[in-house]
């Protein structure tokens, strides 16, 4: 399970820390172990321009968040959601799903996690936070637009 790639990301996480500005933030928790992540997303039009995060968690969840930033920053929302789906399928695939390195890059290192069901949630924690934050950016934008037409003063994210 502990591929060298995972340990590398764990020891030197990419994109760690919470940064401003951001469009939406998500807080996720793993109820079985109490691990937490706070993750922020900044969009530039349709492109993910930054992902920043703070985690309290194991090597798997930290490395996974690090790989996530590598894979989604600079991509369109649509593309990043495609990566997310591929990662999730692999992680929940119980070792039966062959991962595509072209799509998942360093993410393929997590294929082994799929054989440890109790750790799948760790690998997915950051991804769930990312998904949630993206949904929130959409909501905030909608809300902002709706608000804007009515009362610009209240339109704070």
């Amino acid at each position: 399970m502990y591929q060298e790639i995972i340990l590398d990301h764990y020891r030197t996480p990419h994109g760690a820390g919470l940064r401003e500005p951001f469009d939406a933030e998500s807080f996720q928790i793993n109820p079985t172990c109490g691990d937490e992540i706070t993750l922020r997303v900044k969009l530039d039009g349709d492109t993910v321009s930054d992902v920043s995060y703070e985690t309290l968690g194991c090597s798997i969840s930290q490395a996974s968040a690090s790989v996530l930033t590598d894979l989604v920053v600079g991509r369109s929302i649509e593309d990043s959601m495609r990566v997310l789906t591929a990662f999730q399928e692999m992680a929940q695939g119980r070792g039966q799903v062959e991962p595509d390195e072209d799509v998942l890059g360093d993410g393929v290192a997590f294929a082994g996690v799929a054989r440890y069901p109790a750790r799948v949630k760790c690998a997915l924690l950051g991804w769930m936070a990312f998904k949630d934050a993206v949904v929130r950016t959409a909501q905030t934008q909608d809300a902002a637009q709706t608000q804007a037409t009515r009362d610009p003063e209240e339109a704070q994210p």
Binding site: I29, P31, T32, C33, P117, A118, R119
Partner: protein, 426 residues
């Protein structure tokens, strides 16, 4: 007696170790009390033991290999049971028995009725004075008393459909109203054998926006039941009546309803985030499974479903109906025997209750017991129904896949013997 195609009863009987024992000084056991609890085949006992000898651990809690295997076994059992009743795995909540399942819904409703700290999604489960819960007069105490208590707690009113002399629900006896919040009824009466008109009762409940709870204790073990197709909101049944372990039952709830319903039992494994000041809850089905669950029993119930599937639930049903036919005809031919419940086999399943003129049910049961025939006597947890028929107690024979025509014949002979013994032979 017709032989049911594809069923070798002797082969089936060989799977049930208890059926080879004798009672009362050497008489072969004739077990006609499966309506109270069924017996377990070797396959179910073996599955539970194999789990305990190889994979036992706390589920949904550990990260070690045993814990993973145990969680897997537990969740696979849930998926298999869900498929058996036409439900999604997320719609199957494990309870200790059917009784807990009904109480779960009733308490979730009274919990919803205390609105402090709850979201708007639980509002549809809230009750108050003027609201009504509707059941029928033939219900098992398990589908009566929890509703009486819910009414006591919320001020709602309990109403019920009465029962005709033939043992059918009198659909004209009451009308549902806009204040009817729940309609709860048995799929099959555990005394009369009557199968209730589910579709019609669901239609009426839907027309007034009431929730429907089906007590499937006497149907799921004996005939094909697709809860999705029946379109009920909740349903309950017990493992021990379907060749599975005691200590495990199922509450089925439509996914959307379980998602909106507040919890009942609280504690470990059903939480999302716990602080001393406040707790949030996980998604169903976990939200309704507090504490370490009946793990090996769920696995055993999964094995029971597999056993039933291997024989075929329709084959089991046909076999039982043939036994009911024989029992009803045989008993009705004994002078002084009155069958309580439909003699007509339309919409009727496998429980045959009766009284013998001049011989109390307890005495009939005793004579039968002395001959090795195990039946149930009393009110079978349906006291109001017995009062409705003007009897304190009945004798009830009930069947499962392992019963034979010879056993039914032994029942009829035993009843005749009881009449002779108590000198009421005409």
């Amino acid at each position: 007696m017709t032989t049911i195609e594809g069923l070798d009863v002797q082969k089936v009987r060989a799977d049930f170790p208890i059926l080879t024992r004798t009672v009362r000084e050497g008489r072969p056991l004739v077990y006609l009390d499966s309506g109270a609890t069924s017996q377990r085949p070797r396959q179910v006992l073996d599955a539970e033991r194999a789990f305990l000898e190889q994979h036992n651990a706390a589920v949904h809690r550990g990260a070690h290999q045993l814990a993973e295997e145990a969680t897997d076994a537990y969740e696979s059992a849930r998926a298999r049971i869900a498929a058996f009743i036409g439900a999604g795995p997320g719609e199957v909540v494990f309870t200790k028995n059917a009784t807990e399942g009904i109480n779960l819904v009733a308490y979730a409703m009274s919990n919803s009725s205390i609105r402090t700290g709850l979201g708007p999604e639980s509002e549809r489960f809230a009750l108050g004075p003027g609201d009504e819960i509707v059941i029928t007069e033939l219900e098992h105490h398990a589908n009566l008393v929890p509703w009486q208590e819910l009414c006591r707690r919320t001020g709602a009113t309990l109403r019920w459909y009465s029962i005709t002399d033939e043992g059918r629900v009198d659909l004209d006896s009451i009308e549902l109203t806009e204040r009817t919040k729940v309609v709860a009824f048995a799929h099959q009466s555990n005394v009369l054998g009557t199968i209730l008109p589910v579709a019609e009762l669901v239609r009426r409940a839907r027309a007034v926006g009431a929730l429907v709870l089906l007590d499937a204790c006497q149907s799921v073990p004996h005939m094909p039941v697709d809860l999705g197709e029946l379109d009920v909101d909740f349903a309950v049944f017990s493992g021990h009546k379907m060749l599975g372990p005691s200590g495990v039952g199922v509450l089925y709830g439509r996914a959307e309803l379980l998602a909106a319903m507040p919890p009942f039992l609280t504690g470990g494994s059903m939480i999302e985030l716990v602080r001393m000041e406040h707790t949030t809850y996980s998604a169903p089905p976990q939200r309704f499974e507090a504490g370490v669950p009946m793990t090996s029993q769920a696995v055993g119930l999964g094995a029971a479903v597999e056993y039933i599937n291997d024989i075929g639930i329709d084959v089991i049903h046909a076999h039982e109906i043939a036994l009911v036919r024989q029992a009803v005809d045989g008993l009705a031919a004994v002078p002084g025997v009155r069958i309580i419940g439909p003699q007509d086999l339309t919409d009727r399943g496998g429980a045959v209750a009766f009284v013998v003129d001049g011989v109390h049910a307890h005495d009939v049961g005793q004579v039968l017991d002395d001959r090795g025939v195990a039946v149930r006597v009393g009110h079978h947890c349906a006291w109001p129904l017995h009062r409705r028929f003007g009897v304190a107690a009945t004798v009830r024979a009930s069947f499962h896949v392992y019963n034979t025509p010879d056993e039914v014949a032994a029942l009829v002979e035993g009843v005749q013997a009881a009449r002779e013994f108590f000198g009421v032979v005409s």
